[in-house]
Amino acid sequence: MTDPDVEFSAVVGELLPRLRRLGYLLSGDWHRADDLVQATLERLYSRWRRARTADDIDAYVRTMLVRVFLNEQRTGWWSRVAVTHEVPQGTASAPDSESRLDMRQMLAAVPARQRAVLVLRFYADLSVEQTAGALNCSVGTVKSQTSHGLAALRKALGPSAAEQKSQREAQ
């Protein structure tokens, strides 16, 4: 029989890179992503007996992470979890290229719930129905949030080249 803690440790080890990436896309910041993942894993550990029997543990934890993120947004502030006493080792990331910084800023301009919908649909490749299940909302809400999220991204991107040309011609 597998020890639950050993099993938990093994599953978390496998999930961690994907969870951190998801947290990064949602929050736009690696440090906050780690806070989100840490809070999610604590919740996962506390209900591991039930979680370990989930059909798709990946989806189960992903849903938990998105809900932790949205819950922190809902409260209007987020707490910095005391992850470790020490400064993370080797955390110096590669310098941001300008385009990536722009992309992050564009995504950050999208409201949190719409961003979560976009990330689940276009990064995690969930269907509208699966996204609705993960966010505990209706299919219609997912569709409208997707539409609003795309509009927010377009707005953050600024006028397209074609629009700029037509504006110049109008002037």
């Binding site: 803690d5 990064y24 440090h31 080792q89 080797g90 990330v119 377009r154």
Partner: protein, 170 residues
């Protein structure tokens, strides 16, 4: 911006190099265990309230941590090992023992012991189960960096389990 462009944007951002994780499994286990105990206590308290409500007047006694059966010897195990770093003086390229402290977390308990000058430590009387092992040494990052065991440590009653905490830079 269409859906395909959003997918491309997400994929590009997701490929950003991940910095070293600051997530500490020992903290996850300790805090997760506390959370689980709290939830269990609340659930039991709620159940007791229901019992009292259904039974009219009555006395509900809660035992969130049941006592072990009487007249039975405590069944515990021992953890023993070293805290060490790779390389460096005096024996370049080989494990080097360090003095410091060892923290063992799991099963709702946290135990901290000092190592001997040769870097060895012993944690006696640990209930069977899995534990996260973390070490700190003033000779490694002035004691601010954690030295971790590569995996959870499993303690069995009546046995001494060996586990080392390795101090290494990522």
């Amino acid at each position: 911006m269409d859906e395909q462009q959003v997918r491309t944007l997400m994929d590009t951002l997701a490929r950003d190099p991940q910095p070293a994780s600051s997530i500490d499994l020992a903290t996850v286990v300790a805090r997760g265990h506390r959370r689980r105990t709290r939830r269990r206590t609340i659930t039991m308290a709620a159940a007791a309230v229901v019992v009292v409500a259904v039974g009219g007047t009555g006395l509900a006694t809660l035992h969130s941590h049941p006592s072990p059966p009487q007249n039975q010897p405590a069944k515990t195990g021992t953890l023993h090992g070293y805290i060490y770093s790779e390389g460096g003086p005096p024996l370049a390229g080989s494990p080097r023992a360090l003095p410091g402290t060892i923290t063992v977390t799991g099963n709702g308990i946290t135990r901290r012991v000092n190592t001997s000058p040769d870097g060895s430590y012993t944690v006696p009387d640990l209930p069977p189960g899995s534990y996260a092992l973390t070490g700190h040494s003033p000779y490694f990052g002035n004691g601010t960096y954690a030295c971790q065991a590569p995996a959870m440590v499993h303690i069995q009653s009546g046995h001494t389990t060996a586990a080392d905490a390795l101090c290494e830079m990522n």
